[in-house]
């Protein structure tokens, strides 16, 4: 929006609230905030004929002051809070916070806990990508992909539920470990689910990505060049579709990602189709990781699921609960020591990042030795991706807006925090 073109008629001028004069022959369409294809945001679109000339994403409709809220809550209470940033990717979203606090505490999760976290992260990534694909499908009027993706997402949500006890808000990683170990029949279920999903991905490709109708909508639409992607500082599968080899799992392996064998798919084209394919390929790799992690967990004894600091002094009851000797409580539950309720974290600053479903998520945590964090800063992947709309969309037709919007797998609540 050009500065200084504020209307002179009205009396009050608020910064950012000026009404820009529309140019001649331009048509201003507002997609959102109450629009079936916008999500919780608004996109100012200026159209010249059918061509979008100026696109301005306007965010902030679901701002929840997460960062400020975090300053008034105890360390562990922030985990369920941060899950709400992007609830469909709960483990990935909270993991960097946990890791940052672990750095301040000077501890590191033991091996089994790291594998368990990796497992849930990948389950979440699959579910999150399927969600994105489903929304993408319905944006293009392809209701079958929408229903399929959401139906198959249920498989992975069910897996997560069997692992953690909750479908979406897992609150799974805690400082020094995780909250549950895998149930006995979990590996078999997980393998069935991955085998099923691999088969389904081929069908997705047949009905959606290789469907000539959809292909023509996506090919060479919303091309994001390598340079542009780097300049704008985008993250996640969106830049990997543009040919940038950047993935936190690759550049700075965390948890068990250094030990499992998987590939990071990188595409060259950078168009909507490549972004969609990048997600499909990533789901395939995630399924591989799930298989490997599950096999590892099966082979190794059930020990070292919690850091010694929090488990060394555990009373006998805690071990009984883990072994399932308490009749009314489920097996393999890792109880938390009461110290978690009033945990004091040594003063310091720390920083952690992981690769969430939509891209890199970064937490900066500052402590002054209190039971509350002094400051938590979250940079969510959607917040970094939203700017791309402004530069990618102009020049395309109005009907390409959903095709580009959907291809960025963009989740409005995640940027507003």
């Amino acid at each position: 929006m050009e500065a200084g073109t504020a209307s002179s008629g009205s009396g009050i001028h608020l910064p950012g609230m000026e009404i820009a004069k529309a140019s001649k022959n331009r048509y201003e369409v507002m997609i959102g905030p109450a629009h079936p294809g916008s999500g919780h945001m608004r996109i100012f679109v200026e159209v010249d004929g059918d061509i979008m000339v100026k696109v301005d994403p306007d965010i902030g409709f679901v701002h929840r002051t997460m960062e400020k809220l975090a300053e008034g809550r105890e360390w562990i209470q922030n985990i369920p809070l941060f899950e709400r940033i992007a609830i469909l990717d709960a483990c990935n979203i909270t993991l960097p916070y946990v890791r940052a606090v672990e750095k301040l505490l000077g501890i590191e999760a033991p091996e089994r806990a790291r594998y368990l976290r990796t497992l849930l992260c990948e389950i979440n990534r699959v579910a999150s990508h399927l969600y994105g694909m489903g929304i993408f499908g319905v944006f293009l009027g392809h209701s079958t992909l929408y229903m399929w993706a959401f139906g198959d997402r249920e498989v992975f949500i069910d897996l997560a539920e069997r692992l953690t006890g909750a479908r979406l808000t897992h609150t799974y990683p805690v400082f020094g470990g995780v909250r549950r170990d895998i149930p006995d029949d979990f590996p078999e279920d997980a393998r069935k689910a991955t085998r099923y999903m691999r088969k389904r991905l081929n069908e997705y490709a047949k009905i959606f990505l290789n469907n000539p109708n959809i292909r023509s909508r996506l090919e060479n639409v919303g091309v994001l060049t390598k340079n542009q992607a780097a300049e704008l500082g985008l993250v996640g599968p969106n830049i990997r579709a543009s040919g940038i080899r950047y993935d936190v799992r690759l550049n700075e392996p965390y948890e068990a990602y250094g030990d499992v064998d998987f590939e990071i798919p990188v595409f060259e084209e950078g168009d909507s189709l490549a972004r969609a394919w990048a997600r499909v390929e990533e789901v395939r790799q995630s399924l591989n990781i799930i298989d490997q992690v599950v096999t590892w967990l099966e082979k190794h004894p059930r020990e070292n699921f919690m850091h010694e600091k929090f488990w060394k002094t555990a009373p006998k009851l805690y071990k009984d609960v883990y072994e399932g000797k308490i009749s009314y409580s489920p097996k393999y539950r890792i109880k938390l020591m009461p110290i978690f309720a009033s945990l004091k974290v040594p003063p310091g600053k720390s920083f952690a990042r992981v690769e969430a479903g939509r891209g890199e998520i970064v937490y900066y945590v500052e402590s002054n030795g209190d039971i509350f964090p002094y400051r938590v800063r979250v940079v969510s992947p959607s917040f970094r991706n939203v700017i791309a709309f402004k530069y990618v969309m102009p020049g395309h037709r109005l009907m390409d807006l959903p095709a580009i919007y959907g291809s960025f797998d963009y989740f409005p609540p995640a940027f507003d925090r």
Partner: protein, 203 residues
Amino acid sequence: MPAKVSQKKNPKRNPLGKVFAGNIGALAVGLKYFFDPNRITLLYPHEYIKLNKGYRGFIVLIKEKCISCSSCARICPAAAMRMLSVKVYNEKLKKYMIKKYPVINYNRCIFCGLCVDVCPTEALYHVPYHDIVYENMNDMILSLEDFQKEPENIEFKEGIPVKYYFDERRGLVKTPYMEELEKRNEKEEKNQKVEGEGEKGAS
């Protein structure tokens, strides 16, 4: 071994495939599922999921085990759990003493289960269901007595309990959970017997 980068390209399409192969593939997949549907929908409330034991549903207190340590109330991220002071008769000291017990406000509870996990004596536990209806919001703030009872699930009376099993071919397959049904039938029979006897007694 760390991750590897694999360079990929959008799958190419030949000009002929542009017209035929893609369309036919899509239509074939569509027809396949039209004639052999793979349904995943739960016909709630005619069916309800019999959830696994580990599910984090509503929370129940075992009062005898509670040591009034307040850990659950302190860790609660939503401030749903509060400690309630209750006068308790202490038989050893032979006098009334004030003791604290947790109560829960389901208006606020987010079912994160941290309270259950942090309880040092395992005095709290989850029931594996969450389909519970309260008539008004005040009812959702439980009293100490209500907090000790397992809440009553309405669907359990009419719906068919269903379990989802993982399947390689169909993903999730829903199957009626017969054990639960049999249990319920037995209960109903008992109830009918009791009622019948009651009627006889009355007559």
